[in-house]
Symmetry: D2
Subunit: 378 residues, 4 copies
């Protein structure tokens, strides 16, 4: 099958996330990068383009120019990857959607609920696929958990404890390199730091795995490390439709945690424990307290989830494969759209609708915190 | 050295906790049980007494009678252990204090702040030692953490995540045997279940290890398992004097957790992780993220803590030794009082003052919950 | 029920193991120490006796005197605990057996196969119970494994990997205190160090759990740390009757291991993993590779094993409880002998027969090693 | 920099390992597959070639034809990847070396010591780079361990315990799919199964990490699962030059182990523990028994090793990245050869010399086993 051609906005020199998306897409070898606006200056953009073997004519000075030019080409890109700082997600996505080009955008989707809803409306109107790259939900064990809960094995869910602590911004004066800089800058990150970066992952992981909808929440957002102006430690109490409850914790100064997204789900018939840093493993506890551990590639994994595995059990897959799995489904759907075989149930990736939920979540938290940690309906 | 003689109220047939206290005291062989009011009927009390080899004359029908009779004997008990359901802690402790007999009482100390303060005042007036058996703080690694934090190795503490989930009351209609019955009964437990049992352990563990004082808190207490009338899942947001924050979670339906008290403490210079079910181990994370694991009996344990160890490293100590360590310090202090060598800094066990803090904590949580999960000052 | 009275040989000042046996026996409160020959000088023996509240008349100068005197008393000891260095196990046990007194002896039983067989013959002739305190087989999870394998859940066993590394004697010139001194002294330990101490535990653990009999073995025993004259690192290849194989490793210089007895058993239908430092947990792996973890006190533990538990799940039991469980069965059998209710299937502790197997194992290893690491039949 | 073009022999339909090599090479995007002889029939070969987007003219019927044709092209492949069953490694590698084309060959290198030495001689004569893909040594933590030991932090190494158990061939009649079939077939695998597949990984891991050379060994190789004709469980006692010892265990029926390569290295000043299934972590134990855990991407990793990381700490890398790191160094060296900047110290991958050691190791084991498990010099 012919490779699909794609473009990228962001991902210039020193960008971790742009490089990571490119590697993840490379895993399956079904898409090729052919165009980009990698940086804010055309020189830097062309430099990155050259390193990546991109035709200089398709290294653009602005994303607006890129969207127009690529839409006009008969061999134009079939999707765009948006990996800029949060503040520019909205205008970039909008430009490509308006040009009729499907989008894969890093999370959080954008800064305001209005922006988010506009992007969703645009994607629907134009019938364009829209992937929001909540990386961790691509992993086989995350998909396995979703299927396990859907099948009723846990019974009614009673409570969820989820957290995502990191320690990389623990020290005063240490801004954690380029990424830390824009995340801690109210301008570029959109007035929220830790909760926007990590909290949205937590929100999406719980929503994806459990199917629960947040009814209301109560948030406390703290600015702790001297020198910071945005939140670096957040706790959110959550109440879901149907009455289950949850607690979400995120932090950027929790020394000892690298990237420690964990979800623990307690149902009336059992529990499930998952930790993204040990994402090859999923633990389920049965009614009588017996703990059962399963491994990606091994026995007892739901077939629809297991099918995403690329290596035998014990040949560890990780972050890149999780991200790659999002793109695998996204590219398959794009190909199916092209050959007329697409159906909605093929969509096995987080969409713009998930992105909208994430932005709503962040804004409800900001409001709760501003009003003194009170309950806010969603 | 001659053994100290003690008595017990509670701990009759089928009591787990009475038996456990007796075994823990036996560990060092420095105290002997010689009197008791083990049950509500004198027959059952005598039956237990007989099994334990107690003189029938010292098996009492009521605790009031026991307090008076033992106080009157020249060879009367030197302390009493109170292991009744929570509702009777207060009158029993009061009776013995008034009779001039030191008390070791299971936690929580009692039901109301007024009761608690009265017990504290009585103990102080009469200059009587008063142990509240927050078991887990007896462990070597818990003491090591307290000393490590006191010495400043973590710097200023920023946030604390503590939890104590259990799963033994997860199923509808299953009251967890005798203990479960009284804990879930508003009459006997004093109108609070999970938070009174587990929450007070969490509160005490954090206070003991960190020295932090709670300034205010916001609690949500839920009654979840069908058929329950008291809380079985609680979350408390805590703000300490000095500005640090904390989150406490307790549950009785978290299938997969046996008795899972965990404390994670994040400071500006490092972190400490501790789990009571793996209490032979303490994990500290240094400023650069390097994890250092130490073992009871092994290198790097604070000497004052290490001295409580009874076995070499890897010869596992557990719950009984933790409880035994509380009694070790308590009995030593009683002996020192007797021979005139006692000084206040010898007290290395939770006292009535800790018990009062626990009751205040519970009542602040109840108030916060009643008022819709708002902040309540302590 | 009246307490059984017992005596002790060894366990004087500075002895870890004597103290440990006393505490373990204390756990159930069914036996009381009333006599002893705690040290090689009568003064030290009396000093220990005084600390333990023993009548000075029953603190003996020699074990020979003690055996005779106690056998002659109408209220003489009902069993003796032998916790001397290995070299004197044989004469001490022999003296008490000949005096008609049951014995609980620390492992290894003695130095030569002839001695061992004589002790076994004596115990049988006189119909005396004889406990050899292979501590770790007292634990609930060890008993659970034995029952699980007996029931056929693993199918035919194919191979066993067992090890017991320690690190306490890793450093040149460091003899590890009093215990290390006699263990590393050929005179007192009987010409074998690491294999006699740790290897016999491994041999007994595998034999007890699996029921497999060693047919032949090939051993390599090394003296590694400068200054040592006895083995401090040993590897034994084992072939069992029926064709299964095993590998045993023991070491005293494996820095990082405290007391790390581990047994891994691989059968045709599943595997079992057990680690004494985490002895509250047992892991079984099913045919399809699914890992199932069970906890002492929790669901799925074999009832005969579970009955030994003293505390609820998550209230950790450890080394002392393991040792206490050996004595629990031993004392019960002694009581049953006294009241005429004893039957052989009540014996749930390692006996002199296990001790003999241990000595045979050590001697076969010594021979294999001396002959250049060749196979030696047992 | 222009991409290097490469070819592949093997890796046709259903091949796990061919696909895995291609993905690993893709990670850095520095080499492109342009030619192949993917299967034994030209039709299947062309089918795979078509799926991979290879020019049909460069899909060859035989490796001999491919070697000649590619050597003759001005734009011929710059290296060949050999991923056929073991039996054909030798002729394929030889053909390409003789044609002057560098080789990346899966391990074990080939079947006989003579073959291995001939390949080494050929590569040296023709000055051709030769990668043998011992995957696991590519990982950052494996490289970190090598550097740590080189720097003397462990002091003299005393003993090494290494193992590689798997469980995928535990069941009678289950040949584990295509891979299992050829591995268990004496013809295709070269008369050795488990030891050739897993044992060579163990041998290489220990040699790479520690730098120790095997002086002599004693092996026991068992055929256990009914129906097998080749070894499926092996134990090797090893003695290194300088006197250190080691034990290697490999198995294919150890239910519960997926792909469980573990190396534990005990030195006079500390120990190192490493497990490939948790390859993001490396554990070092200091002289006083304190355990220190470090993470790829985190503090304390040797810079030369850390530089291979592609993602921040906690963004897990796995098997693919390990393999990719071997190719990263190999491709860099090829590029440096091309532009004249190559120096020998740039070689940071296992070479034909490592492959020769692996074959010698296997043959010494076979001889030891054949002669009744005696010591065999290398």
């Amino acid at each position: 099958m012919a490779k699909i051609q794609y473009g990228m906005v962001g991902g210039g020199p020193g960008s971790f996330i742009g490089d990571a998306h490119r590697r993840a897409i490379n895993l399956d070898g079904t898409a090729t990068l052919v165009a980009g606006c990698f940086s804010r200056t055309v020189e830097k953009s062309r430099q990155t383009g050259q390193e990546l073997g991109i035709d200089p004519d398709r290294c653009y000075a602005t994303y607006e120019e890129m969207a127009k030019a690529e839409a006009a080409r008969p061999d134009g890109i079939r999707f765009v990857v948006v990996v800029t700082p949060n503040v520019s997600h909205y205008p970039v996505c909008k430009a490509f959607l308006e040009a009729g080009i499907p989008v894969a955008c890093d999370k959080p989707l954008c800064l305001t609920v209005e922006q988010a809803e506009e992007l969703q409306r645009l994607a629907e109107e134009k019938d364009l696929l829209f992937l929001v790259t909540y990386t961790y939900m691509g992993h086989v064990t995350a998909k396995h958990i979703r299927e396990t809960i859907r099948s009723g094995k846990l019974g009614k869910i009673r409570t969820v404890m989820a957290e995502y602590p990191q320690g990389w911004l623990a020290h005063e004066g240490d801004w954690g390199g380029k990424q830390g800089e824009w995340r801690c800058d109210p301008e570029q990150s959109g007035g929220v730091n830790c909760l926007g970066d990590l909290g949205t992952h937590v929100e999406n992981a719980v929503a994806t795995m459990t199917g629960l909808k947040v009814r209301r929440l109560l948030a406390r957002m703290d600015v702790v490390v001297p020198g910071r102006v945005l939140d670096d430690n957040d706790v959110v109490l959550v109440e879901y439709e149907g009455g289950a409850t949850g607690v979400y914790w995120t932090s950027q100064f929790a020394i000892g945690h690298d990237n420690d997204l964990r979800v623990r789900i307690y149902g009336e018939k059992g529990s499930i424990l998952w930790r993204q840093e040990e994402c090859e493993t999923v633990i389920m506890i049965d009614e009588d307290g017996t703990l059962v551990e399963r491994h990606r590639g091994g026995g007892g994994i739901e077939p629809g989830a297991a099918a995403y595995g690329r290596l035998p059990a014990g040949h560890t897959e990780g972050w890149l494969e999780s991200m790659g799995n999002l793109y695998r489904s996204f590219v398959r759907c794009l190909q199916a759209k092209a050959d007329g075989t697409f159906t909605v149930d093929m969509v096995d990736f987080p969409t713009v609708a998930d992105g909208v939920e994430g932005v709503r979540f962040v804004h409800a938290c900001l409001e709760s915190n501003r009003r003194g940690n009170v309950w806010v309906e969603l």
